[in-house]
């Protein structure tokens, strides 16, 4: 069996807003400003799902696939260090885009080129644009069913089964393979690579592909264009509670909230 895990390289979502910088002309985040990028968190969890599947199935070839403008190899190669068999990178300036159609078209072409893929694992959404649409488009382009928001993924024979996270619980869902599955953070974090594995994979080179290799045509104008980006300055005036110690501060907070009418006896509202 062969699984492809789609990994997106993104600006570290935990970068403090004060350190973000925009290239307003290009309508992009300035990459250098925010320090090294990371693999989108949910995509790491999708990779973890693949690794767990390999453990339960005994055998699974895992191909990590990423599209982007420019890659930090040491960041992306973490996928190899934790156990992916292959890393395929498609590099093109037009691929740093919030245009989901463009990305999904190129991903679909790459997945066809990899060939004989039984399962495509994606993150539930990319933390930069939070679109949550590429996997659905990809499934459509590949003619595969799509199951989303998996906190658990298992394969029995020709069928993939997930626990789908719902706002108030979860639900089992399944479909035939091949299929696209998206993974949510409840699945758990990606395991750490061993030092040995890191060293062993240091010399492995990713497979680099161009859009020409994939036969993907030049970009058409996106359906949804970005006109402007800005960093909003939202804020409130914080009144800090001054007190001798923590307990006194806690009591004072109760007083302040009652005086301000924010806290009222139950039933009196």
């Amino acid at each position: 069996m062969r699984a492809v895990v789609c990994l997106k390289q993104v600006v570290d979502p935990l970068t403090p807003a004060t350190e973000l910088a925009l290239d307003r002309a290009a309508k992009k985040m300035k990459p250098a400003a925010a320090g090294p990028p990371v693999i989108n968190g949910y995509d790491e969890q999708a990779l973890e799902a693949a690794l767990r599947l390999r453990e339960s199935l005994g055998q699974l070839e895992i191909v990590a696939l990423s599209l982007g403008e420019r890659f930090h190899l040491d960041v992306m190669k973490r996928s190899l260090a934790v156990g992916a068999d292959q890393l395929v990178l498609v590099q093109d300036p037009s691929l740093d885009t919030p245009d989901s159609h463009r990305v999904a078209t190129a991903l679909a072409a790459a997945i066809r080129k990899i060939g004989a893929v039984d399962l495509v694992l994606c993150g539930r959404q990319a933390s930069d644009w939070d679109n949550a649409i590429v996997p659905l488009l990809l499934a459509e382009l590949l003619g595969m069913p799509c199951l989303t928001l998996a906190r658990r993924v298992s394969v029995q024979g020709a069928r993939v089964e997930i626990d789908r996270v719902l706002p108030d619980g979860s639900q089992t869902m399944w479909s035939e393979l091949p299929a696209v599955v998206t993974v949510t953070s409840e699945l758990g974090a990606l395991r750490m690579p061993t030092a040995r594995a890191r060293l062993a994979t240091a010399r492995i080179q990713p497979k680099l592909l161009t859009l020409a290799d994939l036969g993907v045509a030049a970009a058409e104008p996106p359906q949804v264009e970005v006109r402007d980006l800005s960093i909003p300055v939202a804020g409130r005036e914080c009144r800090f509670v001054e007190a001798a110690d923590g307990a006194a501060a806690g009591r004072r907070l109760a007083e302040i909230l009652m005086e301000a009418g924010v806290v009222r006896p139950e039933g009196a509202r």
Partner: protein
């Protein structure tokens, strides 16, 4: 291609609060879209929700009521809506940003070749199509996006628009639709488990939320937050770190990928205030923050702040509340 269609799934006969926010968006867009407003409700038992939705001032309410729509099954709800859109050909479809709604919207946009405008906080239609504002990068950046070509599928961000008041006049007429998917299903639903266990009140409805994060260090301190919440007639909520660690169920998560809440008071304990978390609670009337780190970003969004260790602050806060609420009740 004309008109606006609001689509909302109904669970347990309850109309979602976002419905009335979608009505606000529809009323804002109506003059520039034209063709009137319709509503589509989907579920297995619409119950009261149908009567409420008939008060939205729509030309009609289309009812997609079918046993197979009992589950939040994205493919089924999408197929039902897609078939309806094939008949009505609306120019704008409005869908609430729930996990089900967001996926139905994306699938619909793909099937219809429509432009999907997701998570918008402001939207208008002009000669150049739809222009909208939406937070990206977890809320740290605001983007203005433009979709020239219709039809459009628009997913408003919860609480970004005020809830509309029901319209005066006659209730809208009801038209029942058959559930007729274009293609046989490819995804299937099995057993569903609900996490109502810990007596968790629906955090979207609570007027007071006492919310805990990684700073609590484990599941036990959430009992203390529960005591405070009970005193205030509120509920307990949490950050994603607390949910992913398994301390509390997913249903309590506030934030970008959790619930969006707008209580009178949001008391955040041991939560740093990442933009992804703030995205779900910035509409609270009053925010109070207890955090041992004076540099925690949450303080920038707080009305009241306590720099301190929750282990000292919260028990004293609880006791003071208990005392004061008791005396004010006697008085």
């Amino acid at each position: 291609m004309a008109g606006i269609l609001i689509h909302s799934a109904v669970e347990q006969g309850e109309l979602r609060a976002e419905f009335w926010e979608l009505v606000t968006v529809a009323r804002q867009l109506a003059p520039s879209v034209g063709g009137g407003l319709r509503v589509a409700l989907a579920g297995s038992q619409l119950g009261d929700a149908l009567e409420q939705a008939r008060r939205a001032g729509a030309a009609e309410v289309r009812v997609l009521e079918h046993a197979q729509l009992a589950d939040p099954w994205p493919e089924g709800h999408f197929e039902a809506l897609a078939a309806l859109c094939g008949r009505l050909d609306p120019e704008v479809v409005l869908v609430p940003r729930t996990p089900l709604g967001a996926e139905v919207a994306a699938r619909l946009a793909i099937r219809r070749g429509a432009s999907l405008v997701h998570d918008v906080t402001h939207v208008q239609k002009g000669a150049d199509g739809i222009t909208a504002t939406r937070p990206v990068f977890g809320g740290a950046v605001s983007a203005t996006v433009q979709a020239r070509r219709g039809p459009w599928v628009i997913v408003p961000r919860p609480h970004a628009f005020a809830a509309a008041a029901p319209a005066d006049g006659e209730a809208s007429p009801v038209v029942r639709e058959a559930f007729a998917p274009a293609t046989p299903p490819r995804t299937f639903c099995g057993a569903r488990t609900r996490q109502g266990s810990s007596g968790a009140k629906d955090i979207e409805k609570a007027r007071v939320l006492v919310s805990g994060g990684a700073g609590l260090g484990g599941p036990e301190p959430f009992r203390l937050l529960g005591e405070v919440a009970e005193l205030l007639g509120g509920a307990v909520a949490a950050s994603r770190v607390a949910v992913d660690a398994g301390w509390v169920p997913t249903s309590l998560q506030v934030g970008l990928t959790g619930r969006s809440v707008a209580p009178d008071l949001y008391l955040a304990v041991g939560i740093s205030g990442a933009t992804h978390h703030l995205a779900g609670c910035s509409s609270a009337q009053v925010i109070a923050v207890v955090n041992s780190d004076p540099a925690a970003p949450f303080f920038r969004l707080a009305n009241y702040g306590v720099v301190g260790d929750w282990k000292e602050v919260i028990p004293a806060f609880r006791d003071a509340l208990k005392e004061k609420l008791a005396t004010s009740r006697v008085a």
